[in-house]
């Protein structure tokens, strides 16, 4: 399937916060509580449309356990966007955000767009982290923030698509130089119908919406 741009995303956060479920909800529009835990990394992909341009999101879903941090760090290379996920019902997953962020800052491109997601917001009765705390953390660290639920699909589309929107805007604003091969180090590939350079106008590429692909 042709795309104007391909963005590489990485999903990070403590084990069991729902990274794989968020990905599955986004790519397959379903919630599967019983799935195998992630060893190393798993991949997902989906086409979205922004500004009438087909954009392919290639998403890396990583293992969350501390022991695997050293290998997870090698996945940051060339990611355009990151979803940093915590579980609103488990305080410690929120407490660990700073260390995840440090990894991301250290190993990823400085212009990587990071979206903070407080997952499992359907479990409000077991909430251990308030929405305000999440907002506050995001503000302090310059992240976009959203609470979401992989189970009910609330805000899942938005989380992935808003991140893509932000990256797309960075391209339009000329933050990334997508006119040459260097764009790949930002986690962006220009595909068929892509516009080289920040100020390109619309072209005739077909818009591809919503479907899943791999």
């Amino acid at each position: 399937m042709s795309y104007a741009y391909l963005f590489k995303y990485i999903i990070i956060g403590d084990t069991g916060v729902g990274k794989s479920c968020l990905l599955l909800q986004f790519t397959d529009k379903r919630f599967q509580p019983v799935h195998d835990l992630t060893i190393g990394v798993e991949f997902g992909a989906r086409m979205i449309t922004i500004d009438n341009k087909p954009i392919k999101l290639q998403i890396w879903d990583t293992a969350g356990q501390e022991s695997f941090r050293s290998i997870t760090r090698s996945y940051y290379r060339g990611a355009a966007g990151a979803l940093l996920v915590y579980d609103i019902t488990r305080r410690e997953t929120f407490n660990h955000l700073a260390s995840w962020l440090e990894d991301a800052r250290q190993h990823a491109n400085a212009n990587m767009t990071i979206m903070l997601i407080g997952n499992k917001c359907d479990l409000a009765h077991r909430r251990a982290v308030s929405t305000e705390e999440g907002e506050q953390f995001a503000k302090e660290h310059g992240l976009i923030f959203m609470e979401a639920s992989a189970k009910t699909a609330q805000n899942v589309e938005e989380a992935f698509i808003n991140t893509a929107g932000t990256i797309y805007k960075k391209i339009q604003d000329g933050v990334f130089d997508v006119s040459n091969e260097a764009s790949q180090s930002y986690g962006i590939k220009v595909g068929y119908g892509g516009i080289p350079g920040p100020s390109g106008g619309r072209d005739g590429s077909t818009s591809q919406g919503g479907g899943c692909c791999n």
Binding site: V34, L37, V41, A63, Q65, I71
Partner: protein, 669 residues
């Protein structure tokens, strides 16, 4: 030539059997001349030699004796070698095994060359190389007769002695470059030196050769029982094994060179070791030309020895050619057998239940695995929960002692009260992690599916108990993947626990906080790929993939996610035999990579693409061919391969002095 005069072999069991066979061969050969229906009317046996054997492995018990014949059919000459029926000194060597090596009527028009080896002491042997590039295993003439063999051939076919090596006889083809190519077989040292990173052993000098032949005989006469007892020693220092590995190495070179020769790459240029050393000035240009040949002829020689000039993947399409690789495993990897069954298993046990020949058992399992209903019993041995020399009664006793020991450890965490747990963060964390993971482990399997499945509870209890048994290592993701099949087979909680403990003795370092166990295996893997496929190694190097993180999951949980569940069980029991190598899993990695090398290099995959590609191989890999390839690679790598794997690399048992499982921020209780 009469080696028996030079060196008395009469006390060698195999030799004795062969001699017996030989003594009665004359009458039978006469009758075969008259009555054999397999030979056409005009066929005439012009040469017949008994006691010509092949040595599929370094073990004397596995040699296969047979009869070599040259038959004249009209104007053509054919060669046959038929193994003797039911005469093997090893009853476990099946007829099927033997038939694999049978040479049925090969016309000399298909033969490229014959290389003879006439050591001063020891058996003469010849290696017959086909035009297709395949070579038959060395044929050992226990009763001499190589000279006569060659003389007979000469009467019927045009053969020419290589101008540069008096021991190479070229059949059908005697162009100059070819002669030089074949004669270069003698120079693996110079070939190896062509690649600075290579550690291939050089060819022994004639005097070395003699010494080793002598040692080979010494070992041969020592009998097979002793060999089994001394497997460990043999592995590390047995000169006979060294020699056989050298022969294997040369053999792989023979195969390779012949293939390259027949592919006509060398008709106009010569770029192997000797050619290079003789004409350094031309070397570079010839490399270039050969590269072009590959590209233009769409041909890729087998990359077994690290002697190739690096291919530039950006310029050259790398055709995927699994057929070439299949040929390798047909020569070196034995066909897989049916799994070990109940009846056969009982033959391995003495009347009190001891395993009489653990090595034979391991070998049997290596080639065929174990029938499912036997796994519970056999795995306990393979994993080390039962010792091979234990009796039924002793095992019963062990089970009862170990069960109560397990309960004691389990009770340590079961007795933690909620109040105590509040002040025991480490415990709460581990318990929480394990609870989260056991419900995400193989739940699609009926054994673990459904709510409140008692087996999921057992996974939890065993893992938490293990994290107390080995508190320093604790719990890490991936362990539930390793435990799941063990519990599935053992069913019993305590037995599953102790089998898991045994497995973790070897694989524990995979889960160290600093990942040192994983890194040492990935490092060894990169070294082995450098040895066995230097172009692929160079490709990974150029593309920043040398960390081999794309093989991380394979190694961490022993390919558990790459194969269907039942195939994983099969693979694991094969790996656990540690037959051939403790590190067969690394050769399994290489076997898989080799089958994909054309794709990887042809599509110019970068790190990200490669990682995704490898991940997506999950469920697509056929186990049996991969095992066969892995065996072939392991045999080809030989001692050189083993030498590249640092001591203590998992699943080798850790070096005793090394401090295990150091955790940086684990606080002492």
């Amino acid at each position: 030539m009469h080696e028996t005069d030079i060196h008395d072999l009469s006390d060698d069991a195999d030799y004795a059997a062969a001699s017996k066979q030989g003594s009665s061969s004359v009458t039978r050969s006469d009758s075969s001349k008259r009555s054999s229906s397999s030979e056409p009317e005009d066929a005439q046996i012009v040469y017949l030699k008994d006691n010509v054997s092949i040595h599929p492995t370094q073990y004397a018990t596995e040699r296969i004796g047979g009869r070599l014949k040259l038959i004249k059919q009209g104007s053509s000459l054919v060669m046959t070698w038929i193994p003797y029926k039911g005469q093997s000194s090893n009853p476990r060597l099946s007829e099927k095994d033997k038939n694999l090596y049978t040479i049925r009527a090969v016309p000399f028009s298909d033969i490229q060359s014959i290389r003879r080896h006439i050591p001063t002491i020891g058996w003469q042997y010849v290696i017959v190389v086909l035009s297709s590039g395949l070579a038959f295993p060395p044929l050992y003439f226990y009763s001499g007769g190589v000279r006569e063999f060659l003389a007979t051939i000469k009467q019927h076919v045009v053969i020419v002695r290589s101008s540069e090596d008096a021991n190479v006889f070229l059949v059908n083809n005697f162009q100059d470059p070819l002669q030089r190519t074949l004669s270069s077989l003698e120079l693996p040292r110079s070939l190896a030196n062509g690649t600075p990173s290579s550690s291939f052993r050089g060819s022994p000098s004639p005097s070395d050769n003699n010494n080793q032949e002598t040692q080979l005989d010494t070992v041969n006469t020592s009998g097979s029982g002793q060999q089994n007892n001394n497997r460990q020693r043999q592995k590390t220092q047995d000169p006979a094994r060294d020699l056989s590995i050298q022969v294997l190495e040369k053999f792989s070179l023979v195969t390779r060179f012949a293939r390259e020769t027949t592919s006509q790459l060398f008709r106009d240029s010569l770029v192997d070791g000797q050619g290079q050393s003789q004409s350094q000035s031309q070397g570079q240009g010839q490399n270039e030309r050969r590269r072009n040949n590959w590209a233009s002829k769409d041909h890729k020689p087998l990359e077994m020895a690290p002697i190739d000039a690096p291919i530039a993947p950006k310029d050259v399409p790398v055709p995927s050619d699994p057929l070439e690789f299949d040929k390798l495993s047909l020569v070196w990897g034995k066909p897989r057998q049916h799994p070990l069954g109940v009846e056969e298993w009982s033959n391995f046990l003495d009347y009190e239940g001891r395993i009489m020949d653990p090595d034979a058992l391991k070998k049997r399992i290596f080639y065929g695995g174990v029938e499912h209903n036997l796994r519970k019993e056999v795995w306990a041995f393979l994993l080390g929960y039962y010792s091979y020399d234990s009796t039924y009664a002793e095992r019963e006793y062990v089970v009862s002692v170990k069960t109560s020991e397990y309960m004691t450890i389990k009770n340590q965490w079961q007795s933690i009260s909620p109040e105590q747990a509040k002040r025991f963060t480490k415990f709460r964390e581990r318990k929480g992690l394990i609870e989260k993971d056991v419900v995400r482990t193989d739940r699609s399997l009926s054994f673990y599916e459904g709510d409140d499945n008692p087996n999921v509870r057992l996974l939890h209890d065993i893992l938490l108990t293990y994290s107390f048994y080995n508190f320093d290592l604790g719990y890490c993701q991936g362990m539930s993947d390793l435990l799941s099949p063990i519990l599935f087979i053992m069913k019993d909680e305590s037995e599953a626990f102790w089998c898991f403990v045994s497995l973790m003795e070897r694989l524990g370092p995979n889960f160290n906080r600093d990942q040192n166990g994983m890194h040492s295996q990935l490092f060894a893997l990169s070294k082995l790929v450098e040895l066995l496929d230097s172009p692929l190694h160079n490709y990974f190097k150029q593309n920043d993939c040398l960390n081999y993180f794309f093989c991380f999951r394979w190694i961490l949980i022993q390919f558990k996610r790459e194969f269907e569940y039942d195939k994983t069980l099969r693979l694991w029991e094969v790996l656990w035999t540690h037959y051939l190598s403790e590190h067969l899993h690394l050769y399994v990695c290489i076997a898989i990579l080799k089958r994909q090398r054309g794709k990887i290099m042809g599509e110019e995959m970068d790190f990200d693409t490669l990682l995704k590609f490898i991940n997506e191989l999950s469920g697509q890999i056929e186990l049996d061919p991969i095992l066969r390839d892995a065996e072939a690679l392991c045999v080809c790598a030989g001692e050189n391969g083993a030498g590249l794997i640092p001591p203590g690399t998992p699943p080798a048992l850790p070096i005793p002095e090394a401090s295990m499982y150091q955790q940086q921020d684990d606080e002492v209780l």
